[in-house]
């Protein structure tokens, strides 16, 4: 383990330069370049807001703004986007870089780190864009924003844990990648992002929190929509799950390391 960390440290320049490269590459050939990574989620928010606000607006309590639903949506989306970005890219990170892994000798764990780094960059810009949009909508955020790094940390750990565990298995059983793209879609709808918990029949509300993302997204809502600290109780279960999947991923990595390059 210590050796692994050392070799990753030795490759820090590669990690940083890869994140930069990915960022730069977005700007090279399209006019709006990196702006697209903000436009896409914002467009999604716009669609949901247009389609669903009429239906759902009335039931959203605790915030008085005519744009309440749009704000709620955006706060959840920004958190989900970070999770989704890391999880889905970790899922295929080894397969996508198969040729590189076979031909060059470098610590493979740098690859998920690059994924995390570039997803965080995306998140940063999306978050900024969101704050700007909030300003236009007349919604301001308070110092509770200081909770965001904590939420980010849990989100990243869970996303990497889930994504990498499945990403390693995906090298050996390629169906996993296909199944997961479907599961991720269900997962999105099973998380209170476009709706809120209170809109559900009461008997289902508790089941919602079996989904670790529910508690995390709840945190983003608290901080960004309601300007209060996240409900820490709701974060305990996601944190434990995040840590266990993360450890499982590292364990699988150690075990599969010997055979992984054989099957890429």
């Amino acid at each position: 383990m210590r050796y692994t960390l050392q070799s990753i440290w030795a490759y820090r320049y590669f990690i940083i330069s890869s994140i930069k490269t990915e960022f730069k590459a977005k700007f090279v050939r399209s006019k709006f370049g990196g702006l697209w990574m903000i436009f896409h989620p914002l467009a999604q928010v716009l669609i949901y807001a247009l389609v669903l606000s009429a239906v759902l607006k009335a039931k959203l309590s605790g915030i008085d703004s005519q744009y309440a639903y749009a704000i709620y949506l955006m706060a959840g989306m920004v958190g989900w986007n970070l999770f989704m970005d890391i999880a889905s890219r970790s899922l295929s990170v080894f397969i996508d870089n198969g040729n590189l892994i076979q031909k060059m000798s470098f610590p493979k764990l740098t690859l998920p780190l690059i994924v995390i780094g570039s997803s965080l960059t995306n998140f940063f810009f999306l978050f900024l864009a969101m704050v700007v949009v909030f300003g236009f909508l007349g919604h301001s955020i308070s110092f509770t924003i200081l909770w965001i790094p904590v939420l980010i940390l849990i989100t990243i750990t869970l996303a990497t844990g889930v994504g990498l565990t499945l990403g390693i298995l995906n090298v050996f059983i390629r169906d996993i990648g296909q199944i997961m793209t479907i599961i991720f879609q269900f997962w999105f709808w099973l998380t209170p992002i476009v709706y809120s918990k209170s809109m559900l029949p009461e008997k289902y509300q508790d089941f919602l929190y079996l989904n670790p993302m529910s508690g995390i997204i709840d945190g983003y809502h608290s901080v960004l929509v309601y300007n209060k600290a996240p409900n820490l109780e709701l974060l305990i279960y996601p944190s434990i799950l995040a840590l266990s999947t993360f450890i499982l991923a590292l364990f699988l990595y150690q075990k599969s390391n010997k055979e992984m390059a054989d099957l890429l």
Binding site: K24, Q102, N257, A261
Partner: protein, 407 residues
């Protein structure tokens, strides 16, 4: 201390009836794999500092797998590889290049992949640019490059710092002649400074001119490890090897190794080099008229017989070779028991030195189709300069000199 030590390395790829069994086996449950493909079997060798080793073998012999294990992109199933130094491997040029980045940006990016820091590359970036010689293209996106150009940049990066071990997998056969020379010069320079070289190639000339040792892989095993010429002769024989054929090597008095291979339908009974007085000679003079006399015996009816010979210099490079097919004298429908005496008479317009003769009997244009018998180092002879003006080189190309002094 050897710089690279490969000890009892085996590599097999395991096939399980279900991949879940493989995954469960990481958790301590044991399942027997359905199939085990053994790619490498008990490979042992060690390399000293500054040695240049050629690795040869047919496709599928395990060369690439061995290289990947040495560079540690693949893990051995068994055994151990010890490396005492930094390896730079050119398994595929342009790995990690991003098409939208410029050459310069890619140099930084891909050298990060080799474990270099930004600062280290800052020191050599000008040198890499100069080495690549692609002018303004260095600051253009790599997608606009020709394959030769990206190879120039990639080679420059891979060899920016002198590694302790340089591994090259046929990558150098790309690129134009000028750049090939340039890269070989750099490789030789590294070698002089103590870099160990590991070269995988099918190119006999490259192996023999660069390497001082060669390893022949066949079916995952090392079947020959020694002098490049000897190993290449054996390899050559192996390519032509067919069912029922044998390969045999014996050491001659002068230390050279004679390689005999073939299926044996026709055998070479006797080879002699004669001078104009019909005396057997071992020393001939430059330009002397000599006769190569070869006696072959047909052991089994054959449809067609072609006999070829090749004169090679002391490094094993071909000086001249031809056969009776090219000379339009192939013999058809031969009955068992026939003996044929061939006489090739020629002027030995070759330079001073020691030469060997390889002789082969086969059908068709080359020995690949039906190799009855092939002998490397079948005959050794020396050329001395007795009556010609002093010259260098392997060919005697007598000039007629005229000059005018103009004022």
């Amino acid at each position: 201390m050897s710089i690279l030590e490969v000890k009892d390395v085996s590599k097999s790829f395991l096939d399980y009836s279900s991949e879940w069994k493989r995954i469960l086996s990481w958790f301590g449950l044991s399942f027997a794999p359905k199939e085990e493909h053994k790619i490498l079997k008990h490979i042992n060798f060690s390399i000293q500092k500054g040695e240049a080793i050629g690795i040869v073998g047919q496709n599928g012999a395990g060369k690439s797998t061995l290289l990947k294990i040495v560079t540690q992109t693949l893990k051995p199933s068994q055994g151990k590889v010890t490396v005492n130094g930094r390896i730079s491997a050119i398994l595929e040029l342009g790995m990690g290049f991003h098409p939208d980045l410029t050459g310069r940006q890619n140099v930084y990016h891909s050298s990060g992949l080799m474990g270099f820091t930004q600062v280290q590359i800052d020191e050599v970036i000008d040198e890499i640019e100069e080495f690549a010689e692609i002018g303004e293209y260095f600051d253009q996106p790599v997608r606009t490059y020709s394959s030769g150009m990206s190879m120039r940049v990639a080679f420059g990066v891979a060899t920016a710092y002198r590694p302790d071990i340089l591994i090259i997998d046929e990558a150098l056969s790309v690129g134009d002649a000028y750049f090939q020379h340039k890269s070989f010069d750099r490789i030789r320079k590294f070698q002089e400074d103590g870099t160990t070289l590991l070269l995988v190639s099918h190119d006999r000339n490259a192996i023999q001119s660069i390497c001082d040792r060669a390893i022949l892989l066949e079916g995952g095993c090392i079947i020959k490890d020694g002098e490049p010429e000897e190993v290449m002769d054996f390899y050559n024989a192996l390519i032509a090897q067919k069912e029922n054929s044998k390969v045999e090597q014996k050491t001659l008095d002068d230390g050279k190794v004679e390689t005999i291979s073939g299926t044996g339908e026709v055998t070479i009974e006797n080879i002699r080099l004669l001078n104009s007085q019909n005396q057997i000679v071992e020393y001939i003079s430059v330009g002397e008229k000599v006769t190569l006399e070869i006696l072959v015996k047909v052991n089994k009816d054959v449809d067609e017989l072609v006999l070829g010979y090749m004169i090679k210099d002391r490094l094993g490079q071909a000086i001249f070779g031809t056969n009776t097919h090219h000379l339009k004298k192939e013999i058809k429908e031969l009955k068992q028991g026939t003996q044929i005496e061939y006489k090739f008479t020629f002027n030995s317009n070759i330079g001073v030195g020691s030469y060997s003769m390889a002789v082969a009997v086969h059908s068709g244009e080359s020995h690949i189709v039906n190799n009855y018998e092939w002998r490397d180092n079948a005959l050794i002879f020396n050329v001395a300069n007795q009556d010609k003006d002093e010259f260098v080189g392997t060919s005697w190309i007598a000039p007629k000199l005229e000059y005018n002094i103009k004022r």
